[in-house]
Each structure stands twice: as C-alpha cells, then as structure tokens.
C-alpha cells in the first residue's frame, strides 16, 4: 500500500513514559484522527511527527526518510492562535511559503487562492487582534494548506471555539481537504469530531499511551450525526476509552 508516513516511537521525559512503542502508518491523502483523553500525550505525538521535538526511541518517517522540517513540507495548526500579531492576515498566510523561498509572485497568487478558499476575502489587511477566534483558525488553516504539505498536523484546532463555530469549521476543513487532498493527521479528544472527519481513527489509551484501536470509517461524507453507523461507532469508541 502507498504508505506515506510511518510512526514508530517511544517517548520518555526523565522517568515519565509518555508512550511506549506507538506504531502506525498513514497513507497518502488520508485523513486520520488521533483520539485520546486530554493529557494522554496527543500533543507530544503531534510535535514528534512535525519534527518539533525528537523522540527518545524510534522514528517518524515520511516517504521512508526521517522527518525533517527542512526537507519535508510540513504544516501545523495549533490549538491556540498561532498567528503572528505583527503581521496581517495576508502576511500570516504567506509564512510557510516565505520559509520555503517560493517566488514572490507565485506566493502571492497562492495566498490569494487560500484566503479565498477559507472565505476571508476582504480581511487580508486585518491584524489578528481585529478578527475573531474562528477567523484566526481559518487563517492558520489557510497557512497550513498553502505550502502543499506532505503532512498537515492539526492539534485540537477547534477546541477553543464555540460549538457552532466548531461545527462550521469542521465542514470547512473537510471541504478544503477534499479539494486539495493532503495527508492530514488531526488530533482530538472529541468522539463526534473524529467520526465526522476521519477516514480512520486511531484511539490512544491513557498514559503511558498505547494504541487501543484503529477504526476505518467508511460512511460517505458529509456524515450525519444521527446515522445509525455514526451512533454505533460512537458507542464503540466511547466504550474503548471509557465514556466521558
């Protein structure tokens, strides 16, 4: 199978074992959700996969090469707003393209396209403090999808948003992903969110985290929360991690 990303890692901080031999792979253009309770090491896993921290043992590989932000095209949507407050929306979306030395004219075109895609036309010149939390996450998503990434990591990107905005943003992310087709690893603690979004759900246990389950979600999108398959999967996932 066309395996794009392979993860096989063990992570310890001093005598705290965050996870012991977690191993899974992600196919190209797959949308994978990693589901786990808060505090189980999901963010650490995401940072490992982004090459932001190195693992105690094992490796993360993309196309069989160890993950390296300089070599691979990676993108990360953080839980909190990670926009640079001194840059306006347009210049924030351009960050990844700037790092990758994309020629100016081409970068501008791409930025325009991405801003259009997340529906922020007219807000290009606004600074982060002038826009809402949901809009900030849209900018972060535009920035992530702008670089044509090998892997886009999203670490609870909608956790800080209200329920309605969150629902809307989930639809948006799917729409953009279906259009641009990237490999996405989406971290969440929210059962419904994972079922709504993912091709596949990897369930993590509590610390030290191990993989408790790996579910393929085969319902067609857009998924209906009231669909029997949805409810059934939610029950199974809930039973697996202990319903909360």
């Amino acid at each position: 199978m066309n395996e794009k990303i392979h993860v096989a890692v063990t992570q310890r901080f001093n005598d705290l074992t965050v996870f012991e031999r977690i191993e899974f792979s992600v196919r190209e253009n797959e949308f994978v959700c990693i589901l786990g309770k808060s505090g189980c090491g999901k963010t650490t896993l995401a940072k490992l996969m982004a090459g932001l921290i190195s693992c105690t043992d094992g490796a993360v590989t993309i196309d069989a090469a160890p993950v390296d932000p300089k070599r691979h095209k990676l993108a990360f949507v953080f839980q909190e707003s990670s926009l640079w407050p001194w840059r306006n929306v347009r210049d924030n979306v351009r960050i990844g393209l700037e790092v990758k030395n994309v020629p100016r004219a081409q970068a501008e075109r791409r930025v325009d396209e991405m801003i259009g895609l997340v529906g922020l036309q007219g807000f290009e010149e606004y600074y982060p403090y002038q826009i809402s939390g949901g809009m900030k996450q849209r900018v972060a998503i535009a920035r992530a999808f702008a670089v044509d990434a090998d892997l886009i990591l999203m670490d609870e990107p909608f956790a800080a948003l209200d329920a309605q905005t969150r629902q809307h943003m989930q639809e948006e992310v799917l729409r953009i992903w279906e259009r641009l087709k990237h490999t996405v690893v989406f971290i969440t603690h929210n059962l419904e969110e994972s079922i709504y979004l993912a091709d596949r759900i990897i369930v993590l246990s509590d610390k030290p985290a191990t993989i408790k389950g790996d579910f393929a979600v085969e319902m067609p999108r857009p998924r209906d929360f009231a669909h029997p398959g949805f409810i059934d999967l939610r029950k199974r996932l809930g039973a697996l991690i202990g319903v909360w």
Binding site: L52, P69, R71, Y129, R143, V147
Partner: protein
C-alpha cells in the same frame, strides 16, 4: 466659554464622520472620539502648566530672593541668551545643538551595542549566566563615577558620548535581554515546522517580537542619557552645551539662566521621547490593542 469649546469639538467630530462615513462609519466615529479626547488632554495639560507657572510666580514673589527666579525672570534670561548669547557669546541654539548631538551620539552607540548584546545574551542564556558577575555590578555604577576614568582615557567628543552611552546602554540592553524569553514559543514553532533556519527565525520572529521591548528600553535609555548630559559636559573641555551653560552660570550664581538650561534639557528630552512614541504607535498598532 467651556461649553462653546465643547460644542466646537463636537461639531468637528460630526464633520469628520460625515466625510468618511460612506467608507468606514465605525472607524470614523472612533477617530472623532479620539480627536475629542486628544483635545481634552491637551487643554488639561496646558491648564496644569499654567497653574504651575502662576504658583511659581507667586512663590518667587513671596520669597523675594535673587536666587529664586520667577518665570518672568527666566523668560527674560531665555530671550537674552537666545538673542545675545551667553558670557562666551554662545547662543542658546548653539548650546542646544551641541548637547543634542552629544546625546544622539551616545544614544546611538548605546542602541548599536545594547541591542546585539542583549540579543546574544537573551538567545544564549549560558553567555549571560557565565558573565553575570561582570555585567550585573556594572549596571549599578553611576555614570558619574566613571568621570575620572573618562577624563584620563578619552578626549574631545568621545568623552561626552562615553558618559551618555553609559547611561543609555543598560536600559536598552536589559530591555532586549528580558524581552527574548518572553517570545511566544508558539510563534517560533510556526516557523520551525516549515523548516526555517535560525537566522530566518531571528529576523522574522525574534526581532519583531521584541521590537516593542527594545523601543521601550530606548525611551528609558534616552531619558537617562539626557540626565547624564550635565555630568558629561562637566568634564568636557568645550565651553558649549546645555550642561556647560548650567555649570557656567552656577559659578556666577545666576539662577534664571540655569533654569533656562534645565527647561531646554527637559524640552529636548520630551521632543525626542514623543518622536519615539510616535514610531512605536505606528509600528506596533497590534500592540496597542489593550489600550482604548
């Protein structure tokens, strides 16, 4: 009178909002309020200043001493110094220009040295920890204490610049140093995920993040620099400069001229500070979000 002024300001607001309302009604109204607020602040300041001058005049009249000049004496001294020059035929403008140049030179040297050193020690805390026992005590030695050393080692313009540099350096250095650890790791992570080099992160994340701190440090450093001008000009050989003016007239016991020198130092500092504030507001609109 008061109410008529109020009405005038209000009509100005109305004008302004009418003019721009078709494009940005909310912003225009906010601009109008800001204008009214500014006018109010200006008027209050002028009134405070006036009250101070009146009290000073009354106090000086009651005291009736040749060593306590009244505002009117100071004004006459200022006019005479400006038109006819001092005992060495140096005009007030020449004094001011000289002091300004010295302060600017010392201040510029402090920026050029303080910012890179602060960055270096902020980014490599090991360097700071390793040299702490040298750097920290130096901070507390007053520029005045350096005068004898400056006198035997330096000559001419460098003497002045050195003393002012000493005063302005540490506020700028420290502001940069403490600004670095306050940079959001989230902001640097964004760049790192995309594979940015250290140099890129320094230019595009670190510097913009701490620029507000640096500018704040510059404003403090500038103040201290001006405070050092009298000390610096005490030891310089030239008979020119606002500090020197004060020293010369101190020997003659002419208080009115001394006060003229003091006021001019204050004014120069004020103007430079306002310029820096303006730059700050322009550059860091995003930082002023907390202010209304």
């Amino acid at each position: 009178m008061q109410s008529r002024r109020g009405k005038h300001v209000r009509s100005e607001i109305a004008d302004l909002s009418v003019r721009v309302s078709s494009e940005e009604p909310i912003r225009a109204r906010a601009g109008g309020w800001r204008l009214a607020r500014r006018a109010r602040i200006l008027i209050t300041n002028l009134m405070v200043l006036l009250a101070f001058l009146v009290l000073w005049e009354i106090g000086a009249d009651l005291y009736r001493s040749p060593f306590i000049p009244a505002p009117s004496d100071v004004w006459r001294a200022a006019v005479s110094l400006a038109l006819h020059g001092d005992v060495n035929d140096r005009t007030l403008w020449a004094h001011t220009a000289q002091s300004l140049m010295r302060v600017l030179a010392g201040f510029a040297a402090a920026v050029v040295t303080g910012v890179p050193l602060g960055l270096l020690m902020g980014l490599y805390p090991g360097v700071y920890r390793g040299s702490r026992s040298l750097v920290e005590p130096l901070r507390f030695i007053p520029p005045l204490a350096w005068i004898p050393i400056a006198m035997v080692t330096l000559t001419g313009f460098t003497r002045y610049a050195f003393i002012i540099w000493l005063g302005a350096f540490f506020p700028i250095f420290v502001a940069t140093l403490v600004g670095v650890p306050r940079i959001e790791t989230l902001h640097t992570d964004v760049a790192r995920v995309h594979g940015a080099s250290r140099g890129w992160i320094l230019r595009k994340v670190v510097i913009p993040s701490i620029l507000p701190d640096i500018l704040g440090g510059m404003r403090v450093g500038l103040g201290v620099g001006w405070m050092c001008i009298v000390a610096a000009e005490m030891i310089g050989g030239d008979m020119i400069g606002l500090g020197k003016l004060i020293i010369k007239y101190a020997e003659l016991m002419r208080m009115a001229e001394i006060v003229v020198g003091m006021i001019l130092i204050g004014l120069c500092g004020l103007v430079m500070n306002e310029i820096l504030l303006l730059v700050e507001k322009r550059l860091f609109r995003w930082r002023w979000q907390v202010q209304l």
